[in-house]
């Protein structure tokens, strides 16, 4: 199986997200999935850009899809924002003929064409549907059953489900099923599926803080060892934003490591924490790593 990879803007360029790319590459390699990066990938123009101008956003996102189409490949991305944006392109082009005409014109003016044949896939859905939980278990070499984690499905991997077509978002289970293969206890708690406020960052910072405060409180009260995210924006919020929430809302006991979903899978596959960038996160992951490694790091 071969997929075109769209990494997005944040994943390959932000310190705490580099491990997302590293772990994704290692997991896919272990599972014998061949990948080729979208050539000279550009911004996917996600929701915030759609806010400024939808037509521009659709045309921008179609650029990367057109590149994948030229290669005859479907598009795989670990970023929920990218995933959502690419799914929207096909939907809009299919639903609104006028929009298709307009976007065709724009792309033609830069020498591109997008027919609409590329299917965008989210990494976690791909692992579940195309690889399968059994296969992950087969490759598992490390017991992670000492871990209890708070799994954040986030918003843009699932909602709205008619558009994204993975699982109904109110009580999703597919990603929990994957973690279950490694013995990880994915804890159910109130607020697990609610928004982190990421898209309000830089626009309504105080509101973004308050929403994040609720999410971090939810996870903290659930007593988990850490949080796992499937979205770049969720990670930036929970990991990078955590210290300021701790100060602002005087949450002295707040210290939750925030992992990327494929980092957990890669740990289960036997990769070392350093190989998957666990030392690059803002909130130290040492305690969680120590728990897996039986107290000592290699």
């Amino acid at each position: 199986m071969k997929m075109a990879m769209a990494w997005g803007c944040l994943v390959p360029t932000r310190r705490s997200l580099l491990g997302y790319e590293a772990a994704t590459r290692k997991v896919l390699e272990t599972l014998n999935i061949e990948t080729v990066d979208v050539p000279n990938e550009t911004c996917c123009a996600p929701f915030w850009m759609q806010s400024l101008d939808l037509t521009t956003s659709i045309a921008m996102a179609a650029r990367n899809l057109a590149k994948a189409e030229e290669m005859g490949l479907d598009l795989l991305t670990p970023c929920s924002g990218c995933f959502h944006s690419y799914k929207r392109v096909n939907h809009v082009l299919e639903t609104y003929p006028d929009m298709r005409e307009r976007v065709d014109d724009i792309l033609r003016s830069v020498g591109l064409h997008y027919e609409g044949k590329v299917e965008a896939r989210h990494l976690v859905d791909f692992l579940h549907k195309d690889i399968g939980a059994d296969k992950l278990k087969e490759k598992s070499t490390r017991d992670l059953s000492s871990l209890s984690i708070g799994l954040r499905y986030g918003c843009h991997m699932l909602k709205p489900h008619e558009l994204l077509n993975i699982e109904y978002s109110e009580r999703p289970t597919f990603a929990d099923e994957l973690l279950d293969q490694f013995g990880i206890d994915s804890v159910q708690y109130a607020g697990r599926h609610r928004c982190c406020g990421g898209l309000l960052r830089g626009v309504q910072d105080d509101v973004a803080d308050r929403v994040l405060h609720e999410r971090l409180s939810d996870a903290n009260e659930a007593g988990v060892d850490g949080i796992v995210t499937v979205c770049s924006l969720c990670h930036l919020q929970h990991d990078m934003g955590q210290r300021s929430i701790k100060r602002k809302f005087e949450m002295d006991d707040l210290d939750l490591p925030v992992l990327h979903f494929p980092q957990l899978i890669a740990l289960g596959f036997g990769y070392t924490p350093e190989e998957i960038g666990l030392d690059l996160h803002t909130i130290k992951t040492d305690k969680l790593v120590a728990k897996i490694m039986g107290g000592g790091r290699r």
Partner: protein, 184 residues
């Protein structure tokens, strides 16, 4: 709970015919994604699930109500359309498929053309125009990538992206917001 909108729920009510643009809802419904608006029953399921509404006094139903009433200027020039975090919970729950998030996108597009976009998003758009990404490349990250065994960072085709943005009209939107000028 804080009032985000200082006028409060009943500030300028009752609304009278002469204060509204009665065609506004049809204008909105005419845009891609705005068509669900006219199906709204104002039942409030959107407000019930709103994560922003649980930390501040923000109610999607009120925004929809204002649009349906025709309070065009108030809606397009105020914060109320820029407080949605785009979590799509309301869209998921709405029995009438109003798709509030999509309606908000239409309203934001309209406001942006009038120079009322959220400044933070305009900054991000300029960043994308400059770099092809919403982030800048740094030598430090290049080094970290190398240390992690990641391939060298690709350069985005920024020329092509700029041409797309220009052809689609984003430059005009940015210009309208830089000058604060109205270009309809």
């Amino acid at each position: 709970m804080e009032q985000t909108d200082k006028k409060g729920y009943r500030g300028d009510f009752p609304v009278r015919d002469e204060d509204v643009t009665s065609s506004f809802k049809y204008e909105v419904a005419d845009w891609v994604g705005g068509e669900g608006l006219l199906r709204c029953l104002k039942c409030g399921a959107c407000s019930g699930g709103c994560p922003v509404g649980s930390v501040i006094d923000y109610r999607p139903r009120k925004v929809l109500g204002n649009v349906l009433l025709g309070l065009k200027d108030e809606v397009l020039s105020s914060d109320q359309i820029w407080l949605c975090a785009a979590c799509f919970t309301c869209e998921e729950r709405c029995v009438q498929q109003v798709n509030f998030t999509d309606v908000v996108t239409v309203l934001r597009n309209m406001a942006s053309r009038e120079g009322n976009a959220a400044p933070g998003y305009i900054k991000m758009a300029e960043m994308v125009m400059e770099n092809g990404r919403v982030t800048a490349r740094t030598g430090l990250v290049d080094k970290m990538r190398e240390k992690l065994g990641l391939p060298p960072l690709q350069d985005p085709d920024v020329e092509q992206l700029r041409a797309i943005m220009r052809a689609a009209g984003l430059n005009d939107v940015i210009a309208a917001n830089k000058k604060g000028a109205v270009s309809k």
